[in-house]
């Protein structure tokens, strides 16, 4: 992996909830880096993992696959994943892939934390 294949991520750990906010396009070159960050966050078994996608202008099926994988891990851990603040262009791929009904997708971070 090149340096530029690392995705920038900010992580906040609250009481029982972890918020992960990746920054930048998520495609085949950066999905492995995102997977690494998600695995790390999920290793601590938070009750809820919020993935804030406000700063992700683009995602391809490699990124979606990484999120589906994280959801499967969450199910095994009996924890939840909430996606929030999705940009229109990214929402469009979830809709085409009919994953908008499979994931819990909310408008913004505030709603995610109340959910």
């Amino acid at each position: 992996m090149n340096d530029t294949d690392q995705i920038e991520v900010t992580t906040e750990v609250l009481e029982g909830t972890t918020i992960i906010k990746p920054i930048g396009e998520i495609d085949l070159s950066r999905a492995p880096s995102l997977r690494h960050h998600l695995n790390e966050a999920q290793a601590a078994k938070p009750g809820t993992l919020v993935i804030d996608l406000a700063e992700v202008p683009y995602m391809d099926s490699s990124g979606v696959a990484t999120l589906v994988e994280a959801m499967q891990i969450a199910r095994r851990n009996k924890s939840r994943i909430i996606l929030c603040s999705m940009q229109e262009r990214v929402k469009s791929i979830f809709e085409i892939a009919r994953l908008d009904a499979v994931f819990t997708i909310v408008e913004n971070r505030e709603i995610a934390l109340e959910t």
């Binding site: 396009e25 495609d27 085949l28 070159s29 683009y58 099926s61 589906v68 994988e69 929402k91 809709e95």
Partner: protein, 165 residues
Amino acid sequence: MAEMSRPPDVKLELFSQPRLLAGARALISNIAQRIGFSEIFCGQISLAIDEALCNIINHGYDKRTDGKIMLSIWAIENEPPSLRIVIEDQARQVDPATIQSRNLEDVRPGGLGVYLINEIMDEVKYEKREGGGMRLTMVKLLPTRENCGSVSAANTSQGLGQTHE
């Protein structure tokens, strides 16, 4: 699918490297925009090309980074306005019939690429190339007011609704 008689407006050749996908997307999205596709459509077209390139890297070249990928792009402004993209590789040849999208009901990582390509583009054709490798031909027509050929125009999603103007 009619063959194009004139040479492509733009040709792009790249190695099978994930780090080069973003550049290819930027080029395609820009050309699509010039033809008149809305921002959401440009994003979807970039996604279809991205998925096709990912599949060549992952399945065709088994993630090797030294394989060649050639794109030919026609920015067709009339007759009717459309974008035509042919992607060729020198990778493994497979029976086009085996390149299929899976059942989406079964939620699991992966297996969305071919489905997305088919949903987004108006024409999609896989072939074996004579000299070895595969050829994927894709066409996307510019939606008009009468012909709102968007992906999920059928399932009236809100996100995509905005693109029909």
